[in-house]
Subunit: 694 residues, 2 copies
């Protein structure tokens, strides 16, 4: 018995003496104890109650119901003693006024553009639910034969050309998936289509994935995916104030001048409607990978199906409301960690975005409680509930443009938790310098069902549900940030290290009226335990970033990643690069140096107290933006122009190579080199200061 | 001009001086000229006329209509001056008498077990069409809840066990594909199911593949795949006369003694019917790869769908009729090349088998014409139209058992052309010693649409429709022979080098009444040019094998293949082999020697005149058959016990490893070693004789 207790003491000593990246000496143990306290505070019931209130009404940006949600969030923050305020902007937001879709050939059918209602769920009967609507579609009335274009990617149109199918003057029909819907609109425009219908194929989020509502969580034939087709890849934020805040009296460009506004009338439909149209297409049978899950062989068209679509929106500059609440730091209150998510929803938005909002509110409570118990974070934590994300990341973008100088000076990191809970599988995207930080955070939080750490679960999930445990050296795959949520302005415009986190799962009701409280309660997180778990994850992350002695950023991973991207480009474009006299020799030299300094920083990380490691990220941005889209400043990451949501590493170089503009490629390589040089200089300064400080 | 004509003369000299494997000196040029003459003889119109007559009525084995087909074939052969005769056997063949299927829960539906009829095709109205029927299903009436078992493979049942689903006492529902339907019955039996329904999923040969009939060639919801579930993997041929010919007065075992007769009532259904049953299953959603093409998420069951099935057959010993016609050789008439295909069909069998029969008849005419013009093949060519293949390769198996001694002495090779034309893509399976022979043959025949050689087309097709031409060293993939057609007894029982060839394509009406003349004419080979082309391919093959100075067999490829199989087994079972003290060291030593001799034979192939190279193949057979299925004698190839159609290399070793019987593995390795030793000895004898002869 004695031996055993000795062993226990020894083990507990080892545990207590564990390292925690960012913390030194006794601060480590202190932090661990505060974290332990913190982990007991978040409560699933509170998340549930918030979600119930937040999803009471359809609350798109700029609506009365939307304002009510903002007021609720503000009042909750205030009730925790936080310094909360509502920050208004004025954005150009269309509301659907009239949307009509009719098949006129081979037979005449007028479609009902309303999602199916269900007796047991009163939310599905609300009169204020937007009809089938793609925000920012231009107004217009068009009638033409239909062509099926698969996902509507550039290569899909190439394939159609090979098959001899011309989409000019036609209405194209694309399925959701693979690219952001705004990109589908852009590519349709480039190919000369006069209208675009986007539908949800049952292969992508319907019955081919699993049981559909009400038997299961997947999309039924009567549910539609709404969404904006705003050309966010040009610039996000208010269309009429690109690059500066959309304050009430800001000078505005005209809609005609806004490069970010789509040109082709576009609307979404359910697969109930898509079936009728696609069934009436002739022309060749589609290539094998184009076949979806509807029960017939797909054809490309054109025709005989002909449709008439009419779209008319109510275009207005509408007030939007961000809620910004501060938990003030005790040593460097001007330095801040920002935790953000939007609060506007296409309809009820139980998953998107209010699972994240519920998590934010409960995390704010837990951290406020902790402060009341004596916790003293060094830096401030800022909670931001953005408005009008769905339209085009507007609330967050305007705020970043508005607070640019303060942010580049004082923002340590931005953490985004939007679609917080659509299932049980943890996922994260980030800049590479934060990969290890995320891994360390989720090693400290347990999965509520298995009791394993979230890290172990994520690793198992990524390793084909391995039954063994991860080895000590295990890493998990962390994605890179493209776009589709509010980290965009923080990372791509201001160069602030960013993270996006979520629990994912069988989520077939995205942007449908079915993404509501009933669905969450019945198909997703009935006990709200995964909401509670996300509070713990993001809370621990905020606690560490706000209290660390030195910032837990690791640039070795970053250097490796950039090197990988360069190698990939050389592999893809080897011959073309050579014949155009382009090489990466000089970039690679710089990368070597980058790596050496990153390594030095990592090895002496314990000495980097009070040194602003986060500034390294900013050095990747240039004043001049990416070619043809000046708003995007970051040289390593941007949403791919033709991906929209997906991250495009080395975006300037990659996209200029793709379009064959080799002079621009050379310029972009030069800019990349300069960026890396600046990164190195920043690192040198840090290393120099370090010696002086410690 | 002079220069050009000199060049032409030179080129034509080069062409004329080309090598043709198997031919020496001036015989090469003579053969090339005869082949040129031959290639102009086969006519698509004749193929069309034969097919029209052959497919006039449903003609299953043992029926009056079947006899009529045999008489027609016999009379056509005779009209060409061939020595044709009908060879009868008496086989145990069930005919459907009563087949009933009813869903009894959750609602009562009695299904109509008749394929959909179509106004424009009188063949779809014939009263003599078999109902939905799996031949050799035992009689019985069962009622139980249904469980969906995917393809009904052993691993599918394993998966169900993991999910906690017990199929004992249930009726299982499997989709066609991946394994021979008899194997599905066997695995259902092993797992304790009391009934089996096999259906055609639209993902496998219906609308997910392309347009369904009448818009296209794929299976519509009202069409069924009939077929035998005979346990051919135990032994093919008549159930009551295993290993000896089913002559009229042969001693017969009782059906109870026949290991090859299935035990679980089994029937096929269309996806029109399957939809109703599968839609009414509960239980867990199936694993992702189990989802088929019906428009809902599949569940495993059991129930609530409950079905009642009743099967009663008319079991009789019925007369069957092979037609055997000889084109007599002029130097060694006792040596023979056999060209075979069956003539019985489940319904009309336009593709399966009569596209092959039409090809056989027209090839026979062309070769007969050639003989009339003075062609003098050294060896005989024997045309065999088998009966009762559909039931269990019965006609061919009985004939091989009947003529075993002559065949092992005199048969040079067996060429099977069953499903000759279901499309335009050439495919072949063979023993590896014939790979290069096939390639050389199809380099001499042109594709009727592109004008490229069939070899070039096959290569392009196998290389993702490459637009470039194959390099000089290009090889095409040639499959290995499993089972499913009449080469089985020749290769697996008698060790005769075999080939199977076909043109494949979008063939969705396999074993349906829609596999008829209308379908062939509208969806497959409207001009019958691919029939004509197959006549040319098989004709050239027969001409070369019957006239060659030395046999164009290459055992280097064979040695390589066997080595590959051994390595694969070592890779798959490394640790298990080691822990059971099993190694392949000695086999590998022998294989080295095999390769050295194969190489010698290849290098001095020109000197191997009148030497019976084909006997090498026989040395791979052993008197004692495979473990648990004595009929199968070949040690390198057999149909996989749990595959049925698929080839299982080193079947004895592989299957004993799979079942974990390591003593049997050791015995099988010993037998493989002995076989390779015998092969080597045979090669040594050949090499010795060679020196004496030349």
């Amino acid at each position: 018995m004695k031996r055993v207790s000795f062993l226990l003491v020894f083990i507990s000593f080892v545990i207590q003496a564990q390292n925690l990246t960012g913390f030194l000496g006794e601060n480590t143990q202190r932090q661990i104890e505060w974290e332990k306290k913190f982990l007991s505070i978040p409560k699933s019931q509170n998340c549930e109650r918030h979600l119930f209130i937040l999803t009471e009404e359809p609350h798109p940006a700029g609506s009365e119901a939307g304002y009510k949600v903002a007021f609720y969030i503000d009042s909750v923050f205030k009730s925790y003693g936080l310094n909360s305020k509502i920050v208004d902007y004025w954005a150009y937001l269309p509301y659907p006024e009239e949307v009509v879709l009719e098949m006129t050939q081979p037979s005449r059918i007028k479609f009902d553009l309303k999602e199916t209602s269900w007796l047991w769920d009163k939310d599905t009967y609300d009169d204020n639910i937007f009809t089938f609507f793609n925000a920012y579609s231009p107004d217009g009335e068009v009638e033409a034969q239909v062509v099926y274009v698969n996902y509507g990617l550039p290569e899909d149109y190439e394939k159609l050309k090979e098959l001899g199918i011309d989409v000019r003057g036609k209405i194209v029909m694309a399925r959701y998936g693979k690219s952001f819907r705004g990109v589908k609109a852009k590519v349709a425009e480039e190919n000369g289509a006069i209208g675009l219908i986007i539908y949800s194929d049952p292969m992508d989020d319907g019955y081919m994935k699993g049981d559909v509502y009400p038997r299961g969580p997947w999309r039924p034939e009567g549910a539609v995916q709404r969404g904006s087709i705003y050309y966010m890849f040009e610039y996000p934020g208010d269309p009429l104030t690109p690059g500066y805040p959309a304050t009430k009296d800001a000078k505005r460009i005209s809609p005609e001048q806004a490069k970010s506004l789509p040109k082709v009338p576009t609307m979404p439909v359910s697969y109930g409607i898509a079936k009728v149209i696609l069934e009436n297409l002739s022309g060749p049978v589609v290539p094998e990978e184009w076949q979806g899950g509807l029960p017939f062989a797909y054809h490309t068209g054109p025709g005989p199906a002909k449709v008439k679509m009419k779209i008319k929106s109510n275009w207005k500059i509408r007030q939007i409301k961000n809620v910004v609440a501060e938990l003030r730091g005790f040593e460097e209150p001007e330095k801040k960690i920002i935790f953000g998510n939007h609060h506007d929803a296409w309809v009820y938005g139980a998953v998107d975005p209010n699972s994240g909002t519920a998590v934010m509110l409960e995390t704010a409570r837990a951290l406020s409680e902790l402060v009341k118990s004596g916790w003293r974070p060094k830096r401030s934590i800022v909670f931001c509930a953005w408005d009008a994300e769905e339209y085009g990341l507007i609330g967050s973008t305007e705020w970043v443009e508005d607070n640019y100088n303060d942010l580049v000076k004082n923002a340590i990191a931005y953490i985004n938790v939007d679609v917080a809970v659509s299932g049980k599988n943890f996922g994260a995207s980030a800049v590479p310098s934060l990969d290890r930080f995320i891994e360390e955070v989720i090693k400290s939080v347990d999965d509520p069902e298995t009791g394993n750490s979230i890290f172990v679960e994520a690793w198992k999930n990524q390793n084909k549900n391995s039954s063994s445990n991860p080895p000590d050296t295990a890493r998990i795959k962390i994605g890179r940030l493209g776009s589709g949520s509010d980290y965009t302005a923080f990372l791509d415009y201001a160069g602030i290290p960013s993270i996006d986190m979520r629990f994912t799962g069988p989520y077939g009701v995205y942007h449908s009226q079915l993404d509501n409280f009933y669905w969450m309660k019945n198909f997703c997180d009935p006990t709200f335990k995964y909401h509670e778990t996300m509070c713990k994850i993001v809370g621990i992350a905020l606690m560490r970033l706000s209290s660390a002695d030195y910032l837990p950023f690791n640039y070795v991973d970053y250097a490796d990643e950039v090197e990988k991207y360069v190698n990939q480009i050389e592999k893809n474009y080897g011959a073309k690069l050579k014949s155009n006299g382009i090489d990466f020799a000089s970039v690679k030299e710089k990368l070597k140096l980058f790596k050496i300094y990153a390594d030095s920083l990592f090895r002496i990380r314990n000495s980097l107290v009070k040194i602003e490691l986060q500034k390294i990220e900013q050095k990747f941005t240039r004043k001049s933006g990416l070619p043809n889209r000046d708003w995007y400043k970051h040289r390593i990451y941007a949403p791919g122009y033709y991906l929209g949501y997906g991250s495009q590493p080395l975006p300037g170089i990659s996209e200029m190579l793709y379009s064959g503009n080799f002079d621009a490629v050379k310029r972009e390589i030069k800019l990349l080199e300069e960026a890396i040089e600046d990164v190195i200089k920043e690192m040198q300064t840090i290393l120099k200061n370090k010696r002086e400080v410690k």
